[in-house]
């Protein structure tokens, strides 16, 4: 992408380039993707271009964004549990496109593949809502366990919900908004990640310090991998062979073999790391306490750069080039 006339569908990054030379993907950069980081304390979103060592200019998005997710056409959706709102970023002017007021405390979020719907956990309401992505209107809801945290939507229309205080994952049919199953996991399930084959769901359990491995066809736990500490985020390598877990107590990215849970590496990052996203041969880790993002090279299993971001980053998401 260049700093010239906007030709892609996703233009936030282009706008950020216009705000300053060191911000966003620079002209001529071979940007395969951009990582966006939501900072809960600062109330901002920043873009991290591929290979950048500095964040783009912060975009104010309203108070206390907890989670950010990328939808089709490069749109980003952020939840604000403290204010009961969802903000939509992107589109023609690359700024705040819309702010939706929604019931309860919206926290975890997923988008439907066609971009028509948002699935949003209501933390204090112990349910998941389906909203129109275009208007924010409530289309339906389904009761889940207590304090729904992470959500992930399989492209076959199955929604998985980490019910943090119920020690279970709820399995929801996203089309009918009915709960099909609950699967008992460890204590304090918080984050979820599907493998590329979509036959395994990895569940980071904050309080029991482990990862539950769910067979998504049989809908049962087939293994439990010990991590230690407080696992708050989880991601899977593109080939499905490794899983990456943030440990908030130790301040580490823990790398496990997806097959047997064997420890492959413990990579020191910042303090209280939470969100983790994989792109190419890099893991991006949001260090909530340290106000930074660690970039970890997945071949050397070392942190290669630590990028300062505004106060309290918890969540990040990758927007690939072909979405722009």
């Amino acid at each position: 992408m260049t700093g010239g006339p906007v030709t892609g569908r996703f233009v936030l990054a282009a706008l950020l380039v216009g705000l300053g030379p060191a911000l966003g993907p620079g002209p001529g950069a071979a940007a395969a993707r951009t990582v966006y980081v939501a900072s809960q304390g600062a109330g901002t979103l920043v873009a991290l271009a591929a290979d950048a060592t500095e964040a783009g200019a912060p975009l104010p998005v309203g108070r206390s964004p907890a989670q950010v997710v990328a939808g089709p056409e490069g749109r980003l959706y952020l939840t604000h549990p403290d204010t009961g709102t969802i903000t939509v970023v992107g589109g023609a002017d690359g700024s705040i496109r819309q702010t939706y007021s929604v019931p309860g405390q919206p926290f975890g979020i997923a988008t439907s593949p066609d971009g028509a719907h948002l699935y949003v956990g209501d933390w204090a309401g112990h349910r998941v809502m389906r909203l129109s992505a275009r208007t924010g209107a409530l289309e339906g809801a389904v009761a889940v366990g207590r304090e729904p945290a992470g959500l992930v939507l399989d492209r076959n229309g199955t929604l998985y919900v980490a019910d943090r205080e119920s020690r279970q994952v709820s399995v929801v049919d996203a089309r009918t908004m009915t709960r099909k199953a609950t699967i008992a996991v460890g204590t304090g399930p918080f984050a979820l990640a599907l493998n590329p084959a979509r036959d395994r769901l990895y569940v980071a359990n904050v309080r029991s310090g482990d990862v539950s491995v769910i067979d998504t066809v049989a809908r049962r736990v087939v293994a439990t991998f010990t991590v230690g500490g407080m696992p708050y985020g989880v991601a899977v390598s593109p080939d499905g062979g490794r899983i990456y877990v943030t440990d908030q107590r130790g301040g580490n990215l823990v790398v496990l073999d997806a097959e047997d849970g064997a420890l492959r590496a413990t990579v020191p990052v910042g303090r209280y790391p939470e969100g983790v996203a994989i792109t190419g041969q890099q893991a991006y880790v949001a260090n909530w306490f340290s106000d930074s993002v660690s970039v970890v090279d997945l071949r050397s299993l070392r942190e290669t750069v630590r990028i300062a971001v505004p106060d309290g980053p918890r969540s990040l998401t990758v927007v690939p080039e072909d979405e722009r």
Partner: protein, 177 residues
């Protein structure tokens, strides 16, 4: 007080339930002490020994040892009790991590926290870092002023800062403030 396992489980459960609002807050304090890190650790590394150095603490009673799973019951001079559990003790690294097991809004206006205390070399002396994450006392979306984020930040930072000042005074052999 000695807690049987069933009582302990109940406390852990009650502490976990609804303890977490969605917006965490930071507490972050540090101090430099004119003493070797090992000398500082000798004082601060005993989890239940906080009563010997924290000026706000009337008394502290431990159970379960100085390892993961150990507990301390900290009674404050100003009133209120903090029941805290040790998550990890790393004596070699001069660091420990712990959490509040059940809130007492009289003691601190917060619903939950986890924290880490670390002693590291700094010049000829030691630096003690005491930091953590907490949630405000009322995790609903309309908290009263005395249970909001700002009240939590003020109280937690003050409690940590006063503790470190007391630790410094004790280790350096001066009268407790």
């Amino acid at each position: 007080m000695r807690l049987g396992v069933p009582a302990l489980v109940l406390i852990l459960l009650s502490g976990a339930a609804l303890a977490h609002g969605p917006t965490p807050q930071k507490v972050d304090q540090s101090i430099v002490i004119a003493a070797k890190p090992d000398a500082v650790w000798k004082v601060v590394g005993e989890f239940a020994g906080i009563g010997t150095w924290h000026p706000d603490v009337a008394r502290s009673e431990g159970s379960g040892g100085n390892a993961s799973g150990g507990q301390r019951k900290v009674t404050l001079k100003a009133g209120g009790t903090l029941n805290e559990g040790l998550d990890e003790m790393n004596a070699a690294g001069r660091s420990y991590s712990y959490r509040l097991t059940d809130p007492d809004l009289k003691a601190l206006p917060v619903s939950s926290y986890s924290a880490t205390l670390t002693v590291s070399p700094e010049g000829d002396g030691a630096r003690v870092e005491w930091f953590g994450r907490f949630y405000r006392g009322d995790t609903g979306n309309e908290p009263p002023d005395d249970l909001n984020d700002e009240a939590g930040r003020t109280a937690m930072n003050r409690y940590f800062a006063e503790g470190l000042k007391g630790l410094k005074a004790k280790v350096e052999g001066k009268a407790a403030p």
